[in-house]
C-alpha cells in the first residue's frame, strides 16, 4: 500500500454513493482540499465537475465534499505532506468503474 492509498482508503470509507441516482456513473468531481500537516481538513472546494448539470450532479458533488470533511483527519504521508499543503491536494471522485461492474 502506498502512502496515497491510505488517504484514498480513508476517504472511500466515508463516501456514500447512491447507485440509483440518475446519471451517477457519468459524474466526476475534482475537489481542492486545504489540509494541515496533521491531516486536519480546513476547507474543501469544488474545482471541476463533469456530467449533466442539475440536482443529481450537485448532490454528487456535495456527497464527495462531505466524504472529505468526514474523513478528517487524513492519514498524511510523512515525506509528501508538505506538497499537499496550501490547497495543493486534489481529490478526484468518480464512480464509473465501481458502478460499471454492477450494471
Amino acid at each position: 500500500m502506498t502512502e496515497m492509498d491510505a488517504i484514498r482508503q480513508r476517504v472511500s470509507q466515508f463516501w456514500n454513493i447512491d447507485p440509483g441516482a440518475r446519471g451517477v456513473e457519468t459524474f466526476a468531481v475534482e475537489l481542492r482540499v486545504w489540509v494541515d500537516r496533521d491531516g486536519t481538513v480546513r476547507d474543501v472546494r469544488v474545482v471541476n465537475v463533469q456530467g449533466e448539470a442539475g440536482g443529481f450532479r450537485d448532490a454528487f458533488a456535495d456527497g464527495a465534499r462531505r466524504a472529505v470533511l468526514r474523513a478528517s483527519p487524513l492519514p498524511m504521508p510523512v515525506d509528501k505532506s508538505s506538497q499537499m499543503l496550501d490547497g495543493n491536494l486534489i481529490l478526484a471522485f468518480n464512480a464509473r468503474e465501481m458502478l460499471g461492474a454492477r450494471r
Partner: protein
C-alpha cells in the same frame, strides 16, 4: 392549504463552484488522488424531535418520528438513535448546532425544527437541514397550516430533505390506493382502500359488495378510476365490467361506462382528460381510449391478436402495451394514435403489465419464465433490462412519482380451496435493493401510487 414561505436562509454547499470552474486544471506541483470507490450505505442522519412548548412538544416529537421513518424507509438515510443526541430540541431552537458534538456521533446531516400553535389555532412548523461536517445550513423553511395537517407537513419536510440530499424529487407526500382482500379463497371480499404512503390514515373507499379491480390515480391525485363487476340485469350471475371515476375528497362516484365483454385496467392519460384501457370484442382484444368529457371512444390498436395493459409515456406521446401478435406475449410501444408499433422485449419468457416511469427513462414490467414471476425494468427502446425481484407471483408494478421506487404485490402458492398464498404489498428501490413489505390491515393487491399531493 399549506403555506410555504421562502427559504429562511440557504447557504448552498456549492456556492463558489460555478466561479471556480474556470480555474486552470491541476498543475504539476499538486498531488492528485483518484477516489473511485465508495460505500453503498445509507447516510447517517440525525432527526431531532422538533421543539415545542406545552402540548406542541408531543406534536414536535411525532413530526420528527414521521420524518425519520420516511427517510429510513427510502434506504438512503440511516437515522441515528436519538438517545445519542448531544443538543436538546430547545438548545437547537435557540442557537446553531454544536457541530463538534454531532460529529462525534457521526451524523452527516442534522434535521431539527420548531412547532408552535398560533393564536388562531393554526400550526407553524419550521425546519432546518444542516451539513454537520461542512457546518452549513443546506435548507430551511417555514410552513403554516391547520393543526390537523401536521402529518402532511412532516411528509413535505421529508421530501425537502430527500431532494436536497439526493438531488431527486421526493415521494413522501403521496398516497396509495389498493385492493384490500379478506375472507376465504372462493368468497374473497375485495374493497378499495386508501392510505398515506407510510400506511397512516388507512380507510376503505368501497364496501365490498362489488368485485373491484385495478384502481389508478388521476394526475391530479384526487380522482381514482377503477373497474368493478356489477349486476346490471336480473341475473345475479351475469356481471358486467363497469369503469368508475371516484373523487376521493368528496366521495362522489361517476360511471364512466359499462363495457361489453372483458375490459381491463383503465389508466389515465397524463393530462387526465382520457382513460386508456383494453376491451375484448369478437375474438380480439384491442386498446381503446375514452374522452372523459365527451365519452367518445377511440380504437387505438386494430390487430387480430390480444392487446392489453396500455400505459402512456409521461409526455402523453407514446403508449406501451403488451401483445401476443408475434406469437407470445411481449411488450410493444406505439405512438398515442397507434402508429409506429415496435416490439421492445425480446428475451425468453412472457412479458406483461408494462408501466412507463413518471421520469420517462424506464418501463417497469412483469415477466414469467420457468415457473416464476419477476418484476423488472428496461429502457423504452428495450435495452438495459434488469430484473429486480422474483416470487411465485409478483404483479401490478406501480411507480412512485419520482420514478425511483416501485410498489407491487407478492403472493405465494395457495391450496386447492384457494386459501393461503396471501397477497401482500411490497416496495423496492430501482436498484433492486431495499425490498420491504407495506403493512396493511388485511391482504392487499393491485396498488397504485398517487402523484405528489397538490
Amino acid at each position: 392549504m399549506i403555506h410555504d414561505s421562502f427559504p429562511l436562509k440557504r447557504r448552498a454547499l456549492l456556492a463558489g463552484a460555478a466561479a471556480s470552474l474556470a480555474l486552470p486544471s491541476v498543475a504539476q506541483s499538486q498531488v492528485r488522488i483518484d477516489i473511485t470507490r465508495g460505500r453503498v450505505d445509507p447516510l447517517p442522519t440525525a432527526v431531532s424531535p422538533f421543539h415545542g412548548e406545552g402540548r406542541d412538544t408531543a406534536t414536535g416529537a411525532e413530526i420528527a418520528k414521521v420524518i425519520s421513518n420516511n427517510l429510513e424507509r427510502s434506504g438512503l438515510f440511516r437515522p441515528i438513535d436519538s438517545r445519542a443526541f448531544t443538543n436538546t430540541p430547545a438548545q437547537l431552537a435557540a442557537a446553531a448546532p454544536q457541530f463538534t458534538t454531532w460529529r462525534q456521533i457521526n451524523a452527516a446531516v442534522l434535521i431539527h425544527g420548531t412547532v408552535a400553535t398560533l393564536p388562531d389555532g393554526r400550526l407553524r412548523v419550521e425546519f432546518r437541514l444542516w451539513d454537520v461536517f461542512g457546518e452549513a445550513q443546506m435548507e430551511g423553511r417555514v410552513y403554516t397550516t391547520a393543526a390537523s395537517n401536521w402529518r402532511r407537513i412532516a411528509h413535505i419536510v421529508s421530501d425537502q430533505v430527500y431532494k436536497r440530499v439526493t438531488g431527486e424529487d421526493g415521494y413522501f407526500d403521496t398516497r396509495i390506493v389498493y385492493v384490500s382482500e379478506s375472507g376465504p379463497g372462493q368468497r374473497r371480499i375485495k374493497r378499495l382502500a386508501l392510505m398515506d404512503q407510510d400506511g397512516a390514515n388507512h380507510r376503505f373507499l368501497t364496501d365490498g359488495r362489488e368485485l373491484v379491480l385495478t384502481p389508478r390515480f388521476s394526475p391530479t391525485a384526487q380522482e381514482i378510476t377503477y373497474l368493478a363487476y356489477v349486476q346490471t340485469g336480473n341475473n345475479p350471475n351475469l356481471l358486467r365490467p363497469r369503469v368508475y371515476l371516484l373523487n376521493i375528497d368528496t366521495g362522489q362516484r361517476e360511471v364512466v361506462g359499462d363495457f361489453p365483454g372483458m375490459t381491463f385496467a383503465p389508466r389515465f392519460s397524463p393530462d387526465g382528460n382520457r382513460v386508456i384501457m383494453s376491451m375484448a370484442q369478437s375474438g380480439t382484444t384491442d386498446v381503446y381510449t375514452m374522452d372523459l368529457r365527451t365519452r367518445q371512444q377511440a380504437r387505438i390498436t386494430n390487430h387480430n391478436s390480444i392487446n392489453t395493459s396500455p400505459s402512456y409515456s409521461p409526455d402523453g406521446r407514446q403508449i406501451v402495451f403488451n401483445s401476443d401478435r408475434g406469437g407470445s406475449q411481449q411488450i410493444y410501444t406505439m405512438s398515442a394514435s397507434g402508429d409506429n408499433v415496435q416490439r421492445i422485449s425480446f428475451a425468453r419468457g412472457l412479458y406483461g403489465t408494462p408501466v412507463w416511469s413518471p421520469r420517462g427513462d424506464l418501463i417497469a414490467f412483469t415477466k414469467q419464465t420457468e415457473g416464476e414471476f419477476f418484476i423488472g425494468v428496461m429502457r423504452p427502446d428495450g435495452s438495459g433490462e434488469r430484473l429486480l425481484t422474483r416470487a411465485f407471483l409478483v404483479e401490478a408494478p406501480t411507480w412512485a412519482p419520482n420514478g425511483r421506487v416501485l410498489m407491487y404485490f407478492r403472493q405465494g402458492a395457495s391450496d386447492s380451496r384457494g386459501n393461503g398464498g396471501n397477497p401482500r404489498l411490497y416496495s423496492i428501490d430501482l436498484t433492486g435493493y431495499n425490498e420491504r413489505e407495506i403493512l396493511t390491515p388485511a391482504d392487499g393487491s393491485d396498488p397504485a401510487w398517487s402523484p405528489l399531493l397538490p
